[in-house]
Structures are given as C-alpha cells and as structure tokens.
Amino acid sequence: MKSSRRRFLKLAGIAALGLGSRPVVDAAYAAVGGQAAPEPKVGRQPEALTAKQWAMVIDTRRFESAADMEPLIEACHSIHNVPHFENKRHEIKWIWETEYKHAFPGKENDFLPWEVKERPYLVLCNHCENPPCVRACPTKATFKNENGIVVMDFHRCIGCRFCMAACPFGSRSFNFRDPRPFVAETNKKFPTRMKGVVEKCNFCAERLAEGKMPACVEASDGALVFGDLYDPQSKVRQVLNDNYTIRRKQELGTSPAVYYIV
C-alpha cells in the first residue's frame, strides 16, 4: 500500500466535510418540511420565590427559654426527616439551641447584661456568602446555588467530611448510622438521608420553590425574618435598617447571611 498516506488524507478530508455538513443537512431536512420533535423544557414554577442572597434575621429577644425555640426546631426537623439520636456523638441537627459564649465567641465583653448572656440562642447554617465548606468539598456536593443558598446535593456526597472541618460554625452533621430507624415520623414528601452522608439546613429550598417561607420562619410568629439581602425593599433589609445586628464569627470573613438582633 504505497498510496496509504494519500488515501488517509483523502479520507480525512471527506470525514471533515461530513462533519461540517451537519447544519446543511439539517437545513435541507427542515426545508423539505421535516420537523425536529418538540423538546421538553425545564423552568421555575411560577410561584417560586427567588433572591440574590436569601438571608435571615433572628430576634433573639423573643426567645427567653429553650421552650420558645422548641416549636421551630420541631417544625424543621419533622418536615426534613432529621433523625433523633440519644447518643450525642451521633447527633444530627439542622437548627438548634446554644449558649451565648458558643454562638458569639470573642463577643463576650465583661459585664454583659445578664439576660443577653443567659438567653438561649438559635443557630443554624449561615448560608455564608463566602462559604469555606463549598471550597473544601472535593465533589461539589456542597455548592452555592443561584439564590445564595449553600445547598447539599446528597446524591453526590461521599462522606469525606472535609466540609465539616471547614465550617467554623459546626453547622453540619454526619450520619454515622442509617438514620431511617431514628426518624420518629417520616415526612413522605421529603427524602431521608443514608449512612455516610453529611447534612445540614437547606434554607428550605424545597419550600421556597413552592412559594412558601422556611418552616422555622413560619413557626416563629415573626421572631425570624427572611428575605433577599440585596433587595432594598425586602423585609430583611427593613429589619436590618431598624435594628443593630451582629453575626457569628464575622472576623473569619465567611460573611454569614444569618443576622442576630441581640
């Protein structure tokens, strides 16, 4: 086969022509009257709520005891099938109660008002604007979505727990055991998780998509305010404008989107 190189070049030329001819063929097909099958489309439900960055303001003055927070925690944990483990080391939590010194370390001035120091504080994932958990995740299972929510794609999580090491707020929990038997009453409309997966608050992305406010906000009787941080007309901005607020560990630069009126 002496001419093999020539033949190869010829063939390559014909192949390139073939590749380039796709639009021509398509156009000819359309001209003949053939029609490509209509394609399905995806989109947002019309009632979906969107934002540049969802944010929350918690009025801590409204919570005097753990009992005041219980309904909010219950609302979240029941609709999201968050398991309840007696063993503290297996604990899973999306939203929980903590003390001032743990919520705001570094802001413990001497002689703080007694009620500020002793009051319980409600904490959850801050949906940071500069989230270190997202950068740490090797699989992109944790990512910031277009509404500013730090979402977990449970399908992708490999349970490496880098995100837990990266989050300075302890907002994430790891499923050391199969959580299903520990969910008292499952909400069939929301999935559970499986063993070996990390989980945390999702700012109720599934409810916002249906035009509903997060469950904890709904159960808070106005103590929690939710809205778009970058919409000057939003309720969150009004509240931020009218009250002095603080954020958790602001000095770390993660820029939490959960604000506290103290």
């Binding site: 995806v42 439900q45 969107t50 069939k188 409309k189």
Partner: protein, 136 residues
C-alpha cells in the same frame, strides 16, 4: 521426510473427558432451555391508568426513565428549577417522591417488577421514601 507419527495416547479417556467437560459447561443453557422467566408486567394503578400518558410517551419512559430522572435530579438540586414542561406543554413538578410516586404508589408491583427481572438495584430508595401515600 518428517515422521508423521502423531499418535493420541488414551484416546478414549481424552474424548470422554472432553464430552463431559462440554456437557458440564453448557449445562445451564440446555437445562433452562425453554424455561425463560416470563417478562414482567408492571401493574398500573387506577390513577396511572386514568392519566393515560406519563410525563413522556410509554416507549420513552420504558427505555429512558433513568436518564429522565437523572436530569430531573440535577436540574432540581443544582439549578433550583423544579418545573418540567413536556413536549405537549403540560407542566409537572420534577419529583420522584411527589410526582412519579403520586401515580405509581405501588412500588412493589411497578418499579420492583422490572428491576428485579433485570437484576438492577437502583439506590433511589435508600433515601426516597417509596410510598408517599402509605400513611396519608
């Protein structure tokens, strides 16, 4: 002249051994001959029958439902878009738990029938609860 002295030693034993080997190796084939498991017939619920058409054509759903679900999952979780508008313009919420299983609330007689036949074990059910209406 090369000697053409190719003698087979223990001819009888060798041939008998070969026959036994072939029989043993092909045993599963002729043993099961004509006894193929009947193809599964997934059961449609009344609601599914009444709907007449799934989100896409039956042929498409039979062959491609796994790809469809994969696209749904990524679009919902990662792109925050939950509405699926099929070629006829009908809108569905993209949700295994709340849309698929709303009609097909008989996982054992629908999903499992074919999955067991084809010996596939989708891990959807590790997290998604299989029957949304069980306690409603």
């Amino acid at each position: 002249m090369p000697t053409n002295n190719k003698r087979m030693y223990d001819k009888g034993m060798v041939l008998a051994g070969l026959v036994i080997f072939v029989v043993v190796v092909t045993f599963p084939f002729w043993y099961n001959l004509g006894k193929a498991a009947p193809p599964p017939e997934p059961v449609l619920t009344e609601k599914a029958k009444a709907a007449e058409k799934c989100v896409e054509s039956t042929e498409f759903m039979k062959a491609e439902h796994m790809q469809l679900l994969d696209v749904w999952r990524d679009t919902v979780v990662r792109d925050a878009k939950r509405a699926y508008i099929n070629p006829e313009g009908k809108t569905y919420m993209m949700s295994l738990s709340n849309t698929c299983l709303d009609c097909h609330d008989n996982k054992a007689d629908f999903c499992d029938k074919c999955h067991n036949y084809a010996s596939v074990r989708p891990y959807c059910w590790d997290c998604h609860i299989d029957n949304p209406k069980e306690t409603e």
